[in-house]
Symmetry: C2
Subunit: 415 residues, 2 copies
């Protein structure tokens, strides 16, 4: 279907941003802001766009014409760090934190990741897929059209493999873009002989299957005291790299554990969290082109400090914001809310904020040529908001859902 959207009050295209070099030095003019715009989609991709009036030859080709009635159009949001597939709930942990317990204390009592591992292992395939799909629907309703999903609540050869296979089934059943990441190194399993033995099993038994069957695009590891050291994770990361998988890293969240520097050494696509990244680590990330993914939801949700984006931007390191959606430390699919509140508390400008949830995370997911911007040839993923401007979108902090979400040129009617 060839669709023409006209009378868009304001459209943010992020068009000039489609050069990989510029993710770290976004300027206000890079928003590609068009007042009173039109957008033409040829089937699943953006074919043309511009300021009103619509050229006659474009109108002639349109199969359907939609009047946007002055609404705001933004590219579909891209969430590059989520833990969307898990069993069980951990709602009680939020109340425990209100009542004085720390994330680490909750984990020590069998809560935290281990609780979700238990819940995930106990859940049936059907339950896991059903709940994951429900969560993806919530992402969609909030304008998020691309979602990275990490495994990591299986924490055993068979269970991690099961999660990857379930993510593949989900991918084939939704129009959203789903990017699977193998986070087998999310924590040392309580039932493992040692961290090293677990890493060896994952590296030697699971990874070859994942590579052969293309079950994941990325691997990830939680580099932190009490989780995995750089040395422990290295064999897994190196083997993944060799097999053509990209690398993401949970780095320096609770302490400076050398995660940022290791991510740079591994030429990771992203290093995430980064509250305690060292100056050297940040500089190394900038040189290796590793995107810094900040996760302000965990700060809002658990009270840990926000990561200051400024040292990363000053070092010319691209900065994205992701939800870190997970059952314990950030139960929030509302990436728009995190773009607003996160930007304010992490110190991003308004233009950095919108790029941080669209084009920059797309870049970090290897989707910089078709997601996160309304560029000709890109997927026609966008959301329509009954608002006047990007400023209104930022100021309403995800409290006003889009009135329409379009995926690959098709308007979603039930979701």
């Amino acid at each position: 279907m060839r669709t023409l959207l006209e009378n868009i009050g304001e459209m943010i295209t992020l068009q000039p941003l489609t050069s990989e070099q510029r993710g770290h030095s976004i300027k206000e003019e890079d928003l590609g802001r068009i007042h009173n715009a039109w957008l033409f989609c040829d089937n699943s991709t953006v074919a043309a766009l511009g300021p009103m009036p619509v050229p006659a030859d474009i109108r002639k080709f349109a199969g359907q014409v939609v009047d946007a009635k002055g609404a705001l159009v933004l590219p579909g949001l891209v969430d590059a760090h989520t833990h969307t597939i898990f069993g069980g709930t951990r709602f009680d942990e939020f109340a425990q934190r209100l009542n004085g317990a720390s994330y680490q204390e909750i984990a020590a009592k069998g809560g935290g990741i281990q609780a979700s591992v238990k819940g995930t292992r106990q859940a049936s395939d059907e339950e896991l897929m059903k709940s994951a799909k429900r969560r993806l629907t919530r992402f969609l309703r909030r304008g998020v059209t691309t979602v990275e999903i990490k495994t990591g609540y299986g924490l055993a050869f068979k269970q991690e493999l099961r999660l990857l296979k379930l993510i593949q089934v989900i991918r084939k059943n939704v129009r959203m873009e789903i990017v699977p990441t193998l986070l087998a190194l999310h924590a040392v399993p309580a039932d493992a002989k040692s961290a090293e033995a677990y890493v060896e099993e994952i590296t030697k038994r699971l990874l070859p299957l994942v590579i052969e069957n293309k079950l994941a695009r990325y691997v990830d590891a939680f580099i932190e005291s009490g989780y995995f050291s750089v040395e422990q994770a290295e064999p897994f990361i190196r083997a993944a790299e060799k097999g053509g998988l990209g690398v993401r890293v949970h780095a320096d969240e609770f302490s400076n554990s050398g995660g940022a520097a290791a991510a740079a050494k591994w030429k990771a696509a992203s290093a995430d969290h980064l509250q305690h990244a060292s100056k050297e680590g940040i500089q190394a990330m900038a040189l290796s082109g590793t995107v810094a993914i900040l996760l302000p939801g965990t700060s809002l949700y658990t009270g840990i400090p926000f990561t200051d984006a400024r040292p990363f931007l000053e070092a010319k390191c691209a900065v994205a914001i992701a939800s870190d959606f997970n059952p314990g430390s950030s139960f929030c699919e509302n990436l728009a809310q995190l773009a607003s509140l996160g930007a304010l508390h992490c110190h991003l400008t308004s233009w950095q904020a919108i790029a941080a949830v669209t084009y920059v995370p797309a870049l970090s997911l290897g989707l910089g040529d078709r997601k996160g911007a309304l560029e000709i040839g890109f997927d026609a993923d966008f959301a329509v908001y009954r608002m006047a401007s990007l400023e209104e979108w930022l100021a309403t902090m995800g409290q006003r859902l889009p009135s329409e979400v379009w995926l690959k040129g098709e308007k979603l009617h039930s979701y």
Copy 2:
């Protein structure tokens, strides 16, 4: 209509809290948590409640029986500090703050309160009422059934009087409980001769009309450097007190301006904001029974520090959370979100958090005998959530709206 709700999975009644003495020393058992409960409403009020099964004589009297199917029922939330009536928008200010401007810098350039004064004066009565009603609907959808509304964007005799009259029209047209507060001393008007001259006009011309026509239940004043000093506000406050109006105070938000101590001296029902309240001020508030109303939305939304609730609670001062909904520094009607995030960052326990948005603010509004709890004789205002527990409600941070809202014993069908 006599309505019986049965099969409530969990109901939080806050029943034992209906003694004024206990607002400051809430314990977990004061939640009045009933698992598998029923609630019986006789017309607009709560007539009986308890754990299932429903006694035969209650069932016999029920005109309609509603199966809650295991849902969570909470008392309607009470928002004791809002600026819901204003004209114009200030969405650009959020982006300006992201881009480095402070609240004070924005105000110095004609933004802030003065911008809303301009927008309000320019708006027609109809526009002001229509937008205020739209905002009240958003509060309702989020489970908020009682809303205090302050004037303060008129900032002139006629304009403040107009706002009070419009609030009265709105009050008569909605089933929600609306509590009007005259905040004529919100800022010194740009067109006033002096702060003193403005206070004198408001005190001598406006206040007698307000008292005579019962146009407000409370007065409020912004005590802060650059706004009003304690001495400047005192004649207005004293005259209001004499006329039988209650007192609320914007106190110690940007600096220790003696607002908390003044609120105590004036036996204010509440002192609000309080980031910089002194130890002496807090102790005086506890002695005078003044409720501390914390406004974490302004911290989330502008980046100013959160108020730590602990010194207030330790001094035996009751603590409430309110939205401070306003066009510039807290554009958020989602009191549930603020109960969760605010409690975490202001250091309230889970039981203090729910009391802080129900019973304690009701107390501060003089409604402690009929709002903010599900007590026999209280108004049957409550919300039904498709959740298992209070813990789930806290952990989902206002991201899941109630499936039903009931006002004075009637389920709302369109809002």
